[in-house]
């Protein structure tokens, strides 16, 4: 085995790319769950975003339009979930699972004509000055805009949840919808907005896979990334920065094990392939073993303002 073939600079640069879709999807789901809603349809919204973004990207030649459309499609799909669970009071777990199935089916239907085409992709955005720093520059500051966007979104989500009144209200609704309702907050509206945000993030995440990371369309190409995003939210104890750690860890181990496979490591491929899942879960369990876990108290409960 030839470890010298693994370049640490490239490794870190590619782990950021590999982690970005999971990071975006997990961040969206974190906001949804903070509002007290459990949307298990992340995978379905991601793959729908992937094909919608890809189709628009190919047809218009503009990946930016593709991303925008992917966000809209993800949000629309999540709107269906929102109407079902918030107005028609359907069970969130069953509806979320249904959403995943719908998303997978819908995307392969839309995607048939797009198989085997290469899409336009995002250009790298070298940040001035920062990208000239040796080693650190190419590692961290020479990526496409979505990578920066996803990290900025982590910071924004963290700050909004922690310091803003809107964030406080969102957390309050997720903590006790009855109490929030009694104080006069519009529980359903707030949750619907959170669900839409989650859908848009999942759509972006999917489009990032089909427009940047791969970049082409294959059926079922999200390959469970949505489920990993869901797991990361839980193991990150609903904290944005821990979501970043979780996503980068998962992305990092994924890239590393691919490199190890290429370098011919004497470890069975099956073990290497499952290592990202095992290591991510193990590390996040250790992180969240101490202190309170912070699950929103009203998570997954149906709210009806009849009392």
């Amino acid at each position: 085995m030839d470890l010298s073939s693994i370049n640490p600079v490239l490794l870190i640069a590619s782990l950021m790319v590999s982690a970005t879709p999971i990071l975006l999807a997990a961040l969206g789901e974190l906001v949804v769950e903070k509002s007290g809603v459990l949307n298990l349809g992340v995978e379905g919204m991601m793959i729908t975003g992937a094909i919608c973004g890809f189709a628009i990207g190919v047809n218009t030649g503009s990946p930016v339009l593709g991303f925008m459309f992917a966000a809209i499609c993800g949000a629309l799909l999540s709107l269906a979930f929102g109407i079902l669970t918030q107005y028609l009071l359907s069970n969130q777990v069953a509806t979320g699972l249904g959403l995943t199935l719908v998303g997978l089916g819908l995307s392969s239907l839309i995607g048939k004509p797009y198989e085997g085409i290469k899409s336009p992709t995002l250009q790298k955005m070298e940040l001035p000055i920062l990208s000239d720093i040796p080693i650190v520059g190419p590692m961290l500051f020479s990526h496409d805009p979505m990578v920066y966007f996803s990290v900025a979104l982590v910071a924004a989500t963290w700050a909004v949840l922690k310091y803003s009144r809107a964030g406080l209200i969102l957390r309050a609704v997720g903590e006790s919808h009855d109490a929030a309702h009694a104080l006069g907050y519009k529980v359903v509206r707030i949750r619907l907005l959170a669900i839409l945000f989650g859908g848009a993030c999942a759509g972006l995440a999917g489009a990032y896979i089909s427009l940047v990371r791969v970049p082409q369309w294959t059926e079922g190409m999200t390959a469970g990334a949505g489920w990993i995003a869901l797991a990361i939210v839980v193991f990150a104890s609903w904290k944005p920065w821990r979501v970043l750690i979780g996503a980068y860890l998962f992305g990092g181990v994924t890239v590393l094990q691919l490199n190890l496979q290429a370098a011919g490591a004497k470890v069975p491929i099956e073990v290497l392939s499952m290592s990202p899942y095992l290591i991510t879960i193990a590390v996040l369990v250790i992180i969240s073993a101490r202190g309170n876990h912070g699950a929103p108290a009203a998570l997954g409960k149906i709210f009806h303002a009849s009392r």
């Binding site: 009144r165 406080l168 209200i169 957390r171 309050a172 903590e175 006790s176 009855d178 109490a179 929030a180 009694a182 104080l183 006069g184 907050y185 912070g294 929103p296 108290a297």
Partner: protein, 504 residues
């Protein structure tokens, strides 16, 4: 008298099938403590929800300081100077005190300024609070302070309090009343909702009594006896439970050094709880909620097993489960009606079967006898005056009071030797509560041993022979109820045991 602060004229609100409020009019003046009295379902909650902007009246109008007042949402009511302290606290456990208070305010200031303000106001009114404590870690009394401070920070002209004392110890009630009197002297009007008539008589200037959605009277509570107030609420002569004081028989249930670990992060550990209950005796166990009541019931009913701590007629039953204990005659009715005492989506027949199958012989070699189960459910419904179309109705469809009657009746009619009940009349109106208490006393008179866990001290004083209080999982000394003063009870509930033994 000057113009009223708030005037209600002809407020009416109907829901499908019920008229919650019908043509209600009365005035509240600045600096007045106005009581709103009525049984469950009399329409008190609907009325205050209209004042607080949570519900819109169908007809009728309100004026605040002579200006039309029709709040479309609680925020509008708050802006007009109306604040409300809820019965079931509208607090968020995972958030800290300052965040909770900010959520209930329009234009909340920055956290740091708010924290300083909270400290200042809470000291001014004798309700000290740490703004950065997690609300989930506070006691019931402290949680209520959070609600009150949240209201006070907005300088309300009218403060609505929905059953504020139901979760407080007598000492905490005194502190609250002091604060309320201070507010009154500053000119704040208070609309005070309570079941507790003595409280109303000592605190309130005026009382409006509702029955079945209509106003039946406005009176001065200090000049009206508690019995008269109760009769106006109920609309009939109140039957006060009575019993003949009999001699006690042999010791039926003996609990010795029962210690159990807390079942969860939010539970309470039981610490060396010991008591004996004899045939014909009712032991009342008081204490503020969350001091081990649920855990004690679980250990006695058999949901949680212990080691050599619980024995029936000298036989150790600490390892037996609920069904085995039922077979021996130890029955229990837990506090939470839906989900613990009864399965919400099952019919009353099925719910009757779940508890009574063993004692009422509803099973034959593993097969259920539905005929017997249905007959037993009908028997309970008839004996305990449960208002429901029939035993095929789901437990969930019953009102709280009716379901409570069913749950208690289901156990009492099984002729238990030992019956443990937790909060037997929680949320039940006065006449139904009297009926439940009477049935418990009759059961004791027939020679059963009863343990009544309750937060309603008046209830415990009325029906029990002996009294003890739970405090942080420890049981106080057991005292005869006769001659026990409110101060002594307060100390027992607050966990001051040692001085009590000297007094006993």
């Amino acid at each position: 008298m000057s113009d009223p602060l708030l005037r209600l004229s002809g407020l009416t609100k109907a829901y499908p099938g019920v008229v919650a409020n019908s043509d209600i009019s009365f005035d509240i003046h600045a600096g007045e403590v106005h009581a709103l009295l009525g049984e469950n379902g009399a329409g008190k909650s609907t009325l205050v929800k209209m004042i607080y902007g949570l519900v819109k009246p169908d007809t009728g109008r309100m004026t605040l300081n002579n200006a039309p007042f029709a709040p479309s949402a609680p925020s509008a009511a708050r802006l007009s100077g109306v604040a409300m302290v809820f019965q079931h606290f509208s607090l968020f456990d995972a958030l800290n005190v300052a965040e909770n208070i900010a959520l209930g305010m329009e234009n909340a200031p920055k956290q740091r300024d708010l924290a300083a303000k909270i400290k200042e106001v809470s000291h001014q009114y004798g309700l000290p609070l740490d703004p950065f404590m997690r609300v989930g870690d506070l006691s019931a009394g402290e949680r209520q302070r959070v609600e009150i401070i949240r209201c006070l920070l907005q300088n309300p002209k009218l403060l609505i309090m929905d059953e504020p004392t139901s979760v407080l110890t007598p000492q905490e009630v005194e502190i609250l009343f002091k604060t309320l009197r201070q507010l009154k002297s500053e000119g704040t009007a208070i609309l005070y909702i309570s079941h507790k008539l003595e409280e109303i008589r000592s605190l309130c200037d005026t009382a409006t009594i509702l029955r079945l959605g209509k106003k039946v009277a406005t009176c001065t509570p200090a000049d009206t006896s508690a019995k008269e107030l109760a009769e106006m609420m109920v609309g009939e002569t109140l039957h006060v439970p009575e019993r003949a004081a009999g001699a006690f028989g042999e010791v039926l249930l003996d609990v010795t050094n029962l210690s159990l670990r807390a079942p969860s992060e939010f539970g309470t550990a039981l610490k060396e709880v010991s008591f004996k209950v004899r045939a014909g005796e009712i032991l009342g166990i008081g204490g503020v909620a969350g001091n081990g009541q649920d855990e004690l019931l679980g250990a006695l009913s058999g949901e949680v097993s212990s080691t050599n701590a619980v024995s029936l007629r000298g036989r150790d039953i600490s390892k037996l489960g609920p069904q085995q204990r039922r077979a021996l005659g130890v029955l229990a009715a837990p506090e939470e009606r839906l989900g613990h005492a009864a399965v919400p989506d099952m019919s009353l027949t099925e719910n009757a079967l779940l508890s009574a199958a063993v004692r009422k012989d509803m099973m034959r070699s593993g097969f259920l006898n539905w005929g017997k189960a249905k007959a037993y459910a009908e028997h309970v419904i008839k004996e305990f005056d449960v208002r429901t179309p029939g035993p095929a109705n789901a437990a969930r469809s019953l009102s709280g009071g009716n379901l409570q009657k069913f749950v208690i009746g289901r156990e009492v009619l099984q002729d238990p030797d030992v019956l443990i009940v937790n909060q037997p009349t929680w949320g039940v109106d006065a006449s139904a509560a009297a009926a439940i208490r009477q049935s418990l006393m009759d059961l004791a008179a027939k020679g059963a041993a009863l343990i009544v866990i309750s937060q309603d001290l008046d209830e415990l004083m009325e029906i029990s022979d002996h009294f003890a209080a739970l405090n942080e999982g420890r049981l106080s000394a057991i005292r005869p109820v006769q001659g026990l003063s409110v101060e002594e009870i307060g100390l027992m509930m607050g966990g001051v045991h040692d001085s009590m033994e000297g007094a006993a």
